[in-house]
């Protein structure tokens, strides 16, 4: 039996982002959540391995109560067991602390795992750090940006494109991989399955105390990084408006921005007067 863990995070759906483009503030609590795309690909990879090797999958997420939705979705897609780490004390965690918290939960609730699958990065924070840091925290080998994974007699073989190199790597179990979105297009979640998943009670909700976590190491207080501010880069455009006939407009455009455009295309756009 191949025992797998998929770490997944709920991220705001980018279409629904209630953010103010002028000030760049984001009302995160108003946005709708979805399973982070790369996590979904990781789950798909796990489901295929489960099918091939008679596996068992535990899905884990750390997040607010609402993040339970993605665990329900994961059940509908085919995971066997879910773990939800939810506690106000865990809020505001950076990646160092997230990986610490996930590792403690894994040690307590699924210590005998063979393979952990993570997404390569999340679409909100985009750090791509939690996977490698979790491997480090659990002191197991890890490989990031995996595009293909095979398992044979307890050896994990992966393929990936790392910078300009097409690599084949292997490691022994237990190990951790992070998946890109290039392969393993996720299956559709059956609507009926989704309804059933919401009826199913079996999500284990775990608090910081259940994990025996030291408050100094979790949440915002345990995080070494600090966010000074968040802003929208597009809010600062000067925005020159041009109107008129197309011919007049392009003349004006190239007259005003001949240097700006010319230097990029490496051509002299000035007309001799």
């Amino acid at each position: 039996m191949l025992k797998m863990i998929v770490c997944m995070k709920q991220v705001p759906m980018v279409t629904e982002l209630p953010w103010d483009a002028k000030t760049g503030t984001l009302k995160r609590e108003l946005s709708e959540g979805m399973m982070n795309p790369a996590c979904k690909h990781a789950l798909e990879a796990a489901l295929r391995l489960k099918h091939e090797h008679k596996g068992h999958i535990t899905a884990i997420t750390m997040g607010p109560p609402m993040a339970e939705e993605i665990l329900r979705e994961a059940i509908a897609m085919g995971v066997d067991r879910c773990l939800m780490l939810s506690d106000k004390k865990m809020a505001g965690a950076d990646t160092l602390v997230t990986s610490y918290t996930l590792a403690r939960a894994i040690e307590i609730f699924c210590a005998d795992f063979d393979l952990i699958l993570c997404g390569c990065h999340t679409s909100d924070s985009e750090t791509a750090q939690v996977g490698p840091q979790l491997a480090e925290e659990l002191d197991i080998p890890g490989i990031a940006y995996v595009e293909d994974v095979q398992i044979n007699s307890r050896i994990i073989t992966i393929k990936r494109l790392s910078d300009n190199f097409l690599e084949t790597l292997e490691m022994d179990m237990p190990g951790l991989i992070t998946l890109t979105t290039r392969n393993y297009a996720p299956r559709y979640t059956p609507i009926a399955g989704l309804q059933d998943a919401f009826d199913e009670p079996n999500i284990l909700v775990v608090s910081a105390d259940d994990l025996g976590l030291d408050e100094a190491f979790i949440g915002i207080s345990g995080s070494p990084t600090m966010i000074l501010d968040v802003y929208s880069p597009t809010a600062q455009k000067k925005n020159i408006v041009m109107q008129g006939t197309p011919k007049k407009i392009v003349e004006e455009l190239l007259e005003r921005f001949d240097d700006r455009i010319g230097s990029v295309i490496r051509k002299d756009l000035k007309v001799e007067k």
């Binding site: 985009e126 491997a135 300009n164 790597l169």
Partner: protein
Amino acid sequence: MKEDKRSIWVFGDYRNYFQNRVTLQLLSRATDLAKEIDAEVCAVVFGHEVDEWVGEYIAHGAMRVYVTDHPSLKNYSSDIYVELMTRLVKEYKPEIVLVGATSFGREFAPRVSKILGTGLTADCIGLDINEKELLVQTAPAFGGNLLARIVTPEKRPQIATVRPGVFQEIPHNYEAAGKTVYVALPENLPNDRVRLISSLRQPAREQRIEDAEVVVCGGRGMGSRKKFRNLYELAKILGGEVGATRPVVYSDWAEDEALVGQADKHIKPKVLFSFGISGAIQHTAGITDADFIIAVNKNPHATMMKMADVAIVADAGQVCTALIRELKRRIRT
């Protein structure tokens, strides 16, 4: 001597040199930052027969280079490189460590920061020093729709991975004096738990839209397949690539590869033309790194027009044709 002078370190990522010059770009930025906190700029190089890179880094601003040169380091290995790096950092205690946000760097840096128990900011597009002498790291979130400024107030070193192409390298100076510090390969290194079976360098790809300096993007507002094809002529004159929105790709006006947006195609041209595009967030998530945006739309209130440096209120097809004509007139060959 060891601890009285502060230092800024740059990880020497030479595997894809000359194409990927991020290490040189970081040495350049580190040189500016070092002036503000009175620090020494150092590079760190692991590998086998790496003298060439050591010379290159000194020529581009490194005052000191720590080198571990050994046949067993011939291939990049995150396990071993992480071990070597953390040992060096513990010994010499740099203030700041900068790593290029290559695939390798983005796997390597998180593990180094984890072992050292310090903060890491990923994929930065800006680095500055503030009045408290802290490294202010600007990093994108939500596909670049938002930028966050992040500091690591207490833990050291402050570690950042930095996106290639953000900073300008300093021209080389092969007369520059720099010290080389050879660090022997430690004897008690753990085994590499990841075994390299094969590694094939891929042929350098032809220009991809992700790397293009000029991109001409078209949306449904181009009106027809025929008019859309004019964008290819415009792109050719500009030496750029054509991008498209989803409806355009679905209508087969452009091939799948041209799709720009949230999905995965993030472009970062110096000049972006946007023709007949409304500016839905799934599309704009892919263009937030464009430097200079010229948008054409009949509707002055389209989101795309608000994001633009130059917002042209007119028919997209007609502006495209007029622009081709005007460029041809100006570029005499």
